[in-house]
């Protein structure tokens, strides 16, 4: 508190924060009057795009691989955030990831399809399968939905474990790789852009508005004559497709698919990213993933304590900074400060 005051020539000054004048009506509509103001809006967006496109040139091979994982986790977090925006709290992001991984692996291993066909097919078919699995419980809200999505990946794991289908415990290995690291990294970066800007654009349309309304008050949406279950199923399919896509991608990146694809990491990590970055807008999820994943590399030394760290960090953020880092930064960016004299 004391730092927001200063003394000068006997009079006291306090810091005043004001919103910049370009915000017109809401958080997403701006009134611009100069190139400088336009630049002010374009800069953060351009920074992300240009920065990500340049990064692979700057980084060495190890950190390029970290970048790939970061992008994968970012897409998974976006997928979680998208589903959450439509009012569905998923604790089973691993389901999407795992189904995508396995489908792509199966098509590649048993049918010999190349990744060019495997990945799109696995994305679409996988997401359709996941949606079909969840449709019976779509009528449920909140924690009941969360419980069922939490159980699903574990059920599939136990089925694969006991029947030994698709390689059983050992999984499928020696799958077709991507041609080289450049293709891999740019493929996932472009996918991240498509996902991020696509989701944002979608949420700005009337369709997205209906999805958000379902989250806020589903009864009101129902009484406006919208079939919310049909909308929720569509949202699941769209959000799930992002999850199955990264699953399929990782299969060919690692050239392996196995039970780890359904592991709890792929559930807890996207949620942690979104919570730390800030949920409800995709930038937060993206931001969170780009903080937490590289941080994980530095924490490699502490081994299994990593997941402990993530879990407790997530809890701390939920309780202490519920809006997330990104919302805070964004607010700061849209304000300017000046000193005013106090009486």
């Amino acid at each position: 508190m004391s730092r927001s005051y200063k003394e000068n020539k006997g009079s006291k000054y306090r810091r005043e924060r004001l919103d910049r004048g370009i915000k017109a009506r809401s958080d997403s509509i701006f009134a611009l009057s100069s190139y400088r103001e336009a630049l002010y809006l374009v800069f953060p967006r351009a920074l992300v795009i240009v920065g990500l496109l340049i990064l692979p040139f700057v980084l060495d091979e190890y950190w390029t691989k970290v970048l790939i994982i970061t992008c994968v986790m970012a897409i998974l977090a976006l997928s979680w955030d998208f589903i959450a925006l439509a009012g569905m709290l998923s604790l089973g992001q691993a389901l999407f990831f795992g189904i995508g991984s396995y489908l792509s692996g199966i098509m590649n291993h048993y049918m010999g399809l190349s990744p060019v066909f495997c990945i799109p097919l696995a994305t679409m078919v996988g997401s359709a399968i996941c949606t079909a699995m969840i449709i019976p419980v779509l009528r449920l809200r909140g924690i009941y939905f969360a419980m069922v999505t939490f159980v699903l990946p574990l059920i599939i794991t136990s089925i694969i474990e006991m029947t030994g289908i698709f390689g059983g415990v050992e999984g499928l290995s020696a799958l077709s790789p991507f041609p080289n690291l450049w293709v891999t990294v740019y493929f996932i970066i472009l996918a991240l852009f498509a996902c991020f800007f696509g989701f944002r654009r979608l949420m700005d349309t009337d369709y997205g508005l209906a999805l958000k309304a379902i989250r806020d008050n589903d009864q009101a949406v129902m009484s406006s004559g919208i079939n919310i279950y049909w909308y929720k199923a569509q949202a699941l399919f769209i959000g799930g497709a992002a999850g199955t896509f990264v699953g399929a991608f990782m299969t060919h990146h690692y050239r392996f698919v196995g039970l780890p694809a359904f592991s709890m990491d792929y559930t807890i990590f996207p949620i942690a990213c979104t919570v730390v970055g800030g949920s409800g807008m995709f930038s937060g999820a993206l931001f969170g993933a780009f903080i937490l994943t590289p941080l994980g590399e530095f924490l490699r030394a502490i081994g299994t304590w990593r997941i402990v760290f993530y879990s407790f960090l997530m809890v701390a953020f939920v309780v202490v900074v519920p809006e997330g880092i990104f919302h805070y930064l964004q607010r700061k960016y849209h304000q300017f400060e000046r000193w005013v004299k106090t009486e």
Binding site: L91, R139, G142, Y144, V151, I159, W305, I307, M314
Partner: protein, 289 residues
């Protein structure tokens, strides 16, 4: 056949023990404690540490760890959940994160392997209906019955129990009668976690203390709660009986691994046919559908 009946009862009693704490907490405070399984492991691990590292007597260690686990639950409410009460998404994320965090902490502390086991309360076995059954399994049935009976008396006869039910039925009316909703919720979390510890202490002597039980127990508790109806003791007993016998039948005639699938089918069936569970009464339309 008589073996199936006896072991089916034992299984059902185990399900009751696992689910009781979770559904008690949920029924009263509305908090879905996704850290329930972690508290189960906590109870067993604390006892093991007290017996093996601190050299406490076994009964003392049991009593202490039940109390300490309950305190953990209450502290969790006061420090974490109190601030985010009513925000469903945050509640689930916070308890889920705490649960995973605790479980992974134990894993990192080296909780795995055959040395982590608790002794049985009484060794030996007895013949009932032509089936040999060890005393530990009988104790499980006994403890489950005792807990159900005492919970019934607690919630129907004691002042605090009546306050609990008042909060569960209508929070605002209960507040108007001077029932403190936060204190009640804190106590309910404490009792719920203690019940998880009790379940662990009677069930774990049959095998080892395993970290992954944390997730497993949570799923079983959820399944029983969903099928039976979250806040009804009758529902929990019924669902436990269904699952307990289904498990035995599936394990005898098919493959023990199919149990999970049978359970999931039961969950789906109940959710589609009667979303509030077989005996669920409160919060029927508003919360679930």
């Amino acid at each position: 056949m008589s073996g199936m009946i006896v072991y089916g009862l034992v299984n059902s009693a185990m399900f009751v023990l696992m689910a009781l704490g979770f559904s008690l907490t949920f029924g009263i405070s509305g908090v879905a404690n996704f850290a329930h399984g972690a508290f189960y492991v906590t109870g067993a691990y604390l006892t093991w540490q007290m017996v093996n590292s601190l050299g406490f007597a076994y009964p003392l260690a049991i009593a202490l760890s039940i109390v300490i686990t309950g305190l953990f639950g209450a502290i969790m409410y006061w420090v974490v959940l109190y601030r985010i009460r009513g925000l469903e998404l945050s509640e689930v994320i916070a308890t889920f994160g705490l649960g995973i965090g605790l479980i992974e902490t134990y894993r990192s502390l080296g909780l795995s392997g055959h040395s982590y086991k608790l002794p049985k309360f009484v060794d030996g076995s007895i013949e009932i209906l032509g089936v040999y059954i060890d005393f530990q399994r009988l104790i499980i049935i006994g403890v489950a019955t005792l807990l159900i009976v005492s919970l019934w008396f607690f919630s129907h006869r004691s002042k605090m129990g009546l306050a609990f039910r008042g909060i569960a039925q209508d929070e605002y009316t209960a507040l108007a009668f001077g029932i403190e909703s936060d204190i009640t919720a804190m106590v309910s979390l404490g009792i719920g976690c203690s019940l998880a510890a009790i379940a662990a202490l009677v069930i774990v002597p049959l095998s080892l203390i395993q970290v992954d039980e944390g997730k497993h127990i949570l799923i079983l508790a959820l399944a029983v709660g969903i099928v039976g109806g979250m806040e009804s003791i009758v529902g929990i007993i019924t669902a436990s009986l269904v699952f307990g016998f289904a498990q035995i039948i599936v394990a005898t005639y098919f493959n023990p691994h199919y149990t999970m699938i049978v359970m999931f089918a039961a969950i789906l069936f109940v959710l589609i046919v009667k979303p509030s569970g077989l005996f669920g009464k409160f919060k029927e339309l508003e919360e679930r559908v």
